[in-house]
């Protein structure tokens, strides 16, 4: 029941923004997201909340939501980032902006909590729509094209996934198990190898597009480049995790044999993405694009953790998703503020800004260090676990991943140095206002907290990871 309230709050807020006068839209959104955050804090104490209602009984579809170790912290990540994004948004963005933001928040909660494949798919597609309108209405000149690309690419993937979803249920029914979309019931189901491979790739492509993973990242540069900073933060911080989460939640329990079969191929592709993202990040002159491609590289890192098919790798990915979401979200927001103040995103146009804006520079440095994996900050713990998993399975890829970590430090610090340090060539800018500091401090605090106490997440995640994968474990899938 608690989860339903967690979903109902943003939905009610969304409707309220439509009815209330334009001026209070932001206030409504802020209150709503804060209530959501408080509600989420309550969820932490309940820990395993869930509901299980019949939705379309004729097709065996149940409205089944659970917050277990896999989803609990992603729900938290989205709750935090939505609060931050609302506060960082333009107060004059209009009611439709906040409406779509809250609808997005609603669908993200549903997506992360769903354990029925139909419910999962519904929210998976629903969240495309608010993002589409956010990109269409509140971004630059090329925003419309970016929105179109986002929608089409994602839907191409997810329509094939839809066929996959139905096919799984139908096969389960033909096996004599009745029509059901429950992931736990579909897992470990027997199907012919050919069909299973087709379905495996149908799902994988859908998830890889959303993440995005190389080479299916075509929508990413436009969408990240054109969207306003809070939206970028939500897309990169929360929505991209949905792709990885989908692989963990849906594919690992159902397609473990296929993962084993194609492991080498998957590792090679993911590694190529890791390298590609890093190299592209090095070449960019636009600081937002550096972060975007860096993020692409990090998504590949998470994929590597899964494809290592070791429990420590999976655990690392689970942890790294939350950590990366918080840090990259924060980083995009800081970049947004920087862009607001300087009016440019090109690295060469800025230099020595730390003189005039020391606080901004400090936060910038903090998130940069976080994303490049400084020990003590959460990125490090996640990457450590992933590489440990890779060493256990294929050591070659561990070596490449370790090397790319160094490159990551290079491209992130390059941006920081160029923008903040050196002689102050550009005109001075305003430093952060106290209100902006007010919501950056908790975010940074949270990052530090899970950085020095990763066990807070992993201890929760381990049992449910094992729970989610016990079929795979039973077949000796995970070491």
């Amino acid at each position: 029941m608690f989860l339903v309230w967690l979903m109902a709050v943003p939905l009610a807020g969304a409707i309220a923004t439509l009815i209330a006068p334009k001026e209070v839209s932001k206030a409504i959104a802020a209150i709503t997201s804060l209530v959501g955050l408080v509600g989420y804090a309550g969820l932490l104490f309940i820990s395993r909340a869930g509901i299980d209602w019949a939705w379309i009984p004729q097709w065996g579809i149940r409205f089944h939501l659970v917050s277990d170790g896999l989803s609990l912290f992603l729900l938290g990540l989205s709750a935090v980032l939505f609060v931050v994004a609302v506060f960082a948004s333009d107060a004059h963005a209009g009611r439709a902006y906040y409406f779509w933001l809250l609808v997005l928040s609603f669908s993200v909660v549903g997506l992360f909590a769903a354990v029925d494949l139909f419910v999962f798919y519904v929210f998976w597609e629903v969240l495309l729509i608010p993002v589409f309108f956010l990109l269409t209405g509140w971004s630059g000149e090329r925003g419309k094209k970016a929105a179109m690309k986002w929608l089409i690419m994602n839907l191409v993937g997810s329509f094939f996934m839809l066929v996959g979803v139905v096919a799984l249920a139908v096969i389960h029914n033909q096996n004599g198990g009745g029509l059901t979309f429950e992931i736990s019931q579909l897992s470990g189901m027997s199907m012919s190898a050919g069909v299973a491979s087709w379905l495996f790739f149908a799902f994988l492509v859908a998830f890889a597009i959303k993440a995005p993973l190389w080479p299916l990242h075509g929508w990413m540069p436009d969408a990240y480049g054109e969207s306003p900073a809070p939206v970028t933060a939500i897309i990169s911080g929360v929505l991209s995790k949905a792709g990885i989460y989908g692989i963990l939640r849906v594919m690992i329990p159902i397609f473990m044999p296929q993962f084993r079969e194609y492991q080498t191929l998957l590792l090679i592709v993911a590694t190529a993405g890791l390298v590609y993202g890093a190299l592209m990040a090095l070449r960019q002159q636009d600081m937002k694009m550096v972060t975007a491609y860096g993020s692409l590289s990090h998504m590949a890192m998470m994929a590597l953790g899964i494809f290592s098919l070791t429990s420590v790798g999976l655990l690392g990915t689970t942890f790294y998703m939350v950590a990366h979401g918080l840090m990259v979200g924060g980083l995009f927001l800081v970049l947004g503020m920087l862009e607001n103040r300087t009016g440019t995103r090109t690295i060469q146009d800025m230099a020595g800004l730390n003189r005039s804006a020391p606080r901004l520079a400090a936060y910038f440095l903090f998130f940069v260090l976080g994303t490049l994996g400084l020990p003590g900050l959460p990125g490090f713990a996640g990457e450590y676990m992933i590489i440990q998993g890779l060493i256990a399975s294929h050591v070659v890829f561990a070596v490449i991943a370790g090397f790319i970590l160094i490159v990551a430090a290079w491209y992130m610090l390059r941006v920081f140095q160029a923008v903040m340090q050196g002689p102050a060539r550009t005109t001075a800018i305003k430093d952060l206002w106290s209100r902006q500091v007010a919501w950056l401090v908790p975010l940074a605090g949270l990052v530090i907290l899970i950085g020095i106490w990763p066990a807070g997440i992993t201890a929760h995640a381990v049992p449910s990871l094992y729970h989610a994968m016990h079929f795979a474990l039973g077949k000796g899938g995970v070491h």
């Binding site: 439709a96 629903v126 929608l151 329509f159 094939f160 139905v166 096919a167």
Partner: protein, 469 residues
């Protein structure tokens, strides 16, 4: 207690009462519209009463018609279509006082198609449906409207000719006119094959399946808006219903004859229809091509040829029709005095009238098949049907079509949500009756997407009922 054919009888009575109302009252009067609406409501109530009676199915007039749960569901659908069309064109001076009479006559044809069990009734249903629509299409009196009526008439007569000749050959091959007495095992094969092919072509013409779709865009574009709405919803229901009844009652055992052919046509239609929709600049034409593509989706339900297919088809008709009603109501409001709307005219709609833009969004997303709208559930059901029939090709074709279609449906939305270059023109008038249609259609579309279980139950009941044959 069953009132078997009383939904149809009440419509016949309603036709006469409406005509009397037109004659008695002033020609410019609104009474005819009220009588027409009352007829639809009464017929709907009797349909519901029929539904709850236990004595169905019942065959009447020497197996000429069969009233069963299927026909009652079709009744309900076409009643919704007629009510929607009537209210969108409510008391519009452009269409004259005879509009309700003709809507009721066409409604009768659609209802007859739902319960036909015999070649004669099939033909009568098709013609009862078409004749009033020819008139309605041409009733606007402008050049395009007349041309649309003419084109519809000629193509309609042509396809009816094909249909009739096919029926004649089938009659020769089998010796009976009744669907359920057709026995493919004892037919003269070449005659039966040729007859079946011609009959299916004739019906598919009416449904608007590629490559027999050429007439649809022109006719839809030229006809008055409420009439286009009626064609897009009601005619599709009628044609799909009769195609299904004919094939499932008569040739259920020999699905191999027609299943694969219809499957290929379905895939072709879904893809081509959506592709062509992508290129349209006029909103009515876009919806016409969308109607073609949706006819392809309907065909998936037929060529899957299983219980799921029949149910999915019946289910899909409802969200499709509701989306059509909503979209055309929006067009009617925005177009105002004019009778068509280009994509450019939509620019800035979200700023002129946010609610209209929102309603248009729901309608378009439902046509595109985005979750939490009825269209998604319908497509989901169709995919289930195709996969249960072990025809993954159909499912893939469906999603490929949906992907292409999505781009087509999103384009008007992007226009609507971008700022207009010039200053926006006068505010948009909301006619009361049309607004009711619009709001009901949009709410029902979302309702179907969020909680489809009751409708699924009804549909399953009706298709299961009829499958016993």
């Amino acid at each position: 207690m069953t009132y078997a054919l009383w939904p149809e009888y009440s419509v016949v009575i309603g036709v006469f009462v409406t005509m009397i109302a037109v004659m008695v009252f002033n020609r410019r009067s609104i009474q005819a519209y009220w009588v027409g609406l009352a007829t639809i409501v009464v017929s709907g109530i009797i349909t519901i009463a029929d539904w709850s009676s236990k004595s169905l199915p019942v065959a009447l007039y020497g197996h000429a018609v069969t009233v069963d749960a299927f026909s009652l569901v079709v009744n309900g659908l076409v009643l919704v279509a007629a009510a929607g069309a009537l209210m969108i064109g409510w008391n519009d001076k452009r269409y004259g006082p005879d509009f309700p009479v003709l809507v009721l006559l066409a409604l009768l044809g659609m209802m007859v198609l739902g319960l036909a069990n015999n070649f004669v009734v099939l033909f009568i249903g098709i013609e009862l449906l078409s004749l009033p629509l020819y008139i309605l299409a041409a009733s606007r009196g402008t050049g395009e409207s007349g041309e649309a009526g003419l084109k519809y008439l000629l193509l309609g007569a042509f396809s009816s000719g094909i249909l009739l000749f096919g029926l004649a050959l089938l009659y020769g091959a089998s010796g009976t006119l009744v669907f359920t007495h057709l026995d493919p095992a004892h037919m003269i094969l070449p005659l039966a094959g040729a007859g079946l092919a011609l009959t299916v072509v004739g019906l598919v013409f009416k449904l608007g399946i590629v490559p027999f779709h050429m007439w649809i865009p022109d006719v839809y574009e030229g006809s008055p808006l409420p009439v286009t709405t009626y064609m897009a919803f009601g005619t599709k229901v009628g044609a799909a219903a009769i195609l299904m009844r004919f094939l499932f009652f008569g040739f259920s055992l020999d699905a191999g004859w027609w299943g694969p052919a219809l499957g290929y046509l379905a895939v072709l239609t879904m893809v081509v229809g959506n592709l062509l929709a992508l290129a349209q600049k006029d909103l009515k034409r876009l919806l016409a091509y969308s109607g073609i593509a949706n006819a392809g989706y309907l065909l998936v339900g037929i060529s899957a040829h299983n219980m799921f297919g029949a149910r999915a088809l019946l289910f899909y008709l409802l969200p499709y029709g509701l989306a059509v009603l909503a979209a055309f109501a929006v067009i009617q409001f925005v177009a105002g005095e004019r009778d068509s709307l280009s994509l450019d005219d939509l620019t800035g709609l979200a700023y002129r009238s946010p609610w209209l833009a929102a309603f248009l969004t729901v309608a378009m997303l439902s046509l595109a098949g985005i979750p939490l709208t009825g269209g998604f559930v319908g497509k989901f059901y169709l995919i289930q049907a195709a996969l249960f029939a072990n025809q993954p090709g159909l499912a893939i074709g469906l999603v490929v079509g949906a992907m292409v279609g999505l781009a087509a449906y999103v384009r008007p939305l992007q226009r609507a949500f971008s700022k207009a270059a010039g200053e926006s023109s006068e505010p948009i008038r909301w006619p009361v009756a049309g607004s009711i249609v619009l709001v009901v259609a949009v709410v029902a579309t979302i309702g179907l997407g969020v909680y489809p279980a009751p409708v699924v139950h009804i549909v399953n009941h009706s298709a299961a009922f009829y499958w016993l044959h």
